[in-house]
Symmetry: C2
């Protein structure tokens, strides 16, 4: 269980939304539950490291217990701004039968509308930086506040920012080591249909590593001419895909922050641990599953991935 090694563990700074979600899937429906990219990222990463710093914003309506829950998962929440007179970011969505597509029913930006991320001084030398899906200009503001260039910067984004904030996104990408997007977003960002061609172009935009998340079809990792295909665990009942991509990112960066070096082999393993965390996430609504499992469960599931993808010629 190499990943539990406590030596040389480095500090992670996680920036992203902390939110309320209301979710409907063919399996059921939730009222407002705690969600948001940074929540999923932090919870997932907490299985690999106890050095987690969070920068985000919530409103006065955000429950203290939820903040305590993050603290209980090794998350330093001193960078979580609480805007007493405002409301927490809220998203509600409905998944279709195949779980591969969803409709947004409502988005209330609330505190996110004027979010000015403030990186506390003690966070500004974090060695690992995870920029969850946010307005690219907000991601840039975080980059600008880092006193020391982190050892690894991972950025997640989505088609919406490609449509609406292209220039800011392109600017931020220049500073990034790893970009995580889905296959359609890789095509949009590169203008290439083939993912191999897309990867080549995107790597010229800044990120040395590109991870293309394909949901139930697994994930692809590209670095130069190196390629790695991580399977997704076939799951009998995908209850709720919300947060799967963020859980992936959390497992990915959490694992890497415990390693002595970063290279393609470590990245491959990190993609597997990311896939492990995503596979747990979708088994229950919201963050429920992530708060139930143990490190042992994580390791056991990682072994299932070995079984799932190993063969000999």
């Amino acid at each position: 269980m190499q990943y539990i090694c406590e030596k040389n563990r480095m500090t992670n700074l996680i920036v992203g939304t902390v939110a309320f979600d209301a979710i409907e899937t063919p399996y059921g429906k939730t009222d407002k539950i705690v969600g948001g990219a940074a929540t999923y990222i932090s919870l997932s990463a907490s299985f690999f490291t106890d050095k987690l710093n969070l920068v985000s914003v919530v409103g006065g309506d955000f429950p203290q217990e939820a903040i305590q829950m993050l603290e209980n998962h090794n998350v330093n929440t001193s960078g979580l701004q609480i805007k007493k007179n405002e409301k927490t970011f809220f998203w509600s969505g409905k998944y279709h039968n195949n779980m591969n597509s969803r409709d947004t029913i409502e988005t209330q930006l609330n505190v996110l509308e004027n979010f000015d991320p403030i990186v506390p001084k003690e966070f500004s030398e974090s060695e690992f930086l995870m920029l969850g899906n946010l307005v690219p200009s907000v991601q840039q503001k975080v980059l600008d506040q880092m006193k020391k260039r982190p050892k690894l910067i991972v950025l997640d984004t989505m088609n919406f920012w490609m449509d609406n904030c292209w220039d800011d996104l392109i600017q931020a990408l220049k500073e990034v080591d790893v970009l995580t997007i889905n296959d359609e977003e890789a095509q949009q960002l590169s203008g290439e249909h083939s993912l191999v061609s897309a990867a080549k172009k995107i790597q010229k935009m800044g990120p040395k590593y590109l991870i293309i998340k394909k949901g139930e079809h697994g994930a692809l990792l590209f670095e130069g001419k190196n390629k790695f295909f991580a399977p997704a665990l076939p799951i009998e009942n995908v209850f709720d895909p919300t947060g799967a991509g963020d859980s992936f990112a959390g497992g990915f960066i959490g694992y890497l922050s415990g390693q002595n070096e970063i290279n393609f082999d470590k990245m491959k393993t990190a993609v597997i641990y990311g896939s492990v965390m995503a596979s747990f996430c979708v088994e229950k609504f919201g963050t429920e599953k992530l708060t139930e499992i143990s490190k042992k469960d994580v390791q056991q599931r990682a072994m299932e991935f070995v079984e799932l993808s190993s063969f000999s010629l």
Copy 2:
């Protein structure tokens, strides 16, 4: 290069269409070229075995050179019926930009309309039987002519037969060891959305092994509680997906027929060799690539699959 071992190689009987195709993809367009499931299956399998028996039908318009080409690839064509006064099965289709969907422009059944498969006596004890995509009742007629139960029966089918010949298909499935279909077909056949649930149901219909082909997303193999996920090689330019599934089947059964035993581990390797053959197939139009490559190319590409999917925890 274990697969080149010549000992105990067993005989394959391949049944399926031998056809003319006219194909249009974003990369170009062909006139009538030689295609058909049994053609792709045979060519792919020929990299693994020289014991290939073909049962199919063509018209008087089918070129002798194409038959010779099959013979040159170790295919015994004495079970290929030639209907002098009829025409060969013809299909034309056009692939859309994403290559994942296609429109059939024209289908001329011709000789296929009244195809009565006759298994020559010397083929009726073949140890491996590959039933390519055909009317289920024709597949059944072949099963009925086998003197000895083959060691392994693989059946490929498609949604069209589920829509139109349900009962015949269900009947044939009872005798089959391995079924190869795509993900939507697995859902249709089982009535289950989850592929894990679909696999459970389908395995109760007869096939001990189920292979779900997902094109560019790889392939899944199920046997009881065992699962294996084979990646697809990310390819820069997919020129023509025609025949990829059949090339997969050919590599799969060809590899297995050279093995001393059949178990889940051998099946996993067979799925990889199937994926290797499919990855070659799509790189040029029709069967062109399959006729250009060598056994060494096959083995080198198999090593690429090892690279692509190997990791350590």
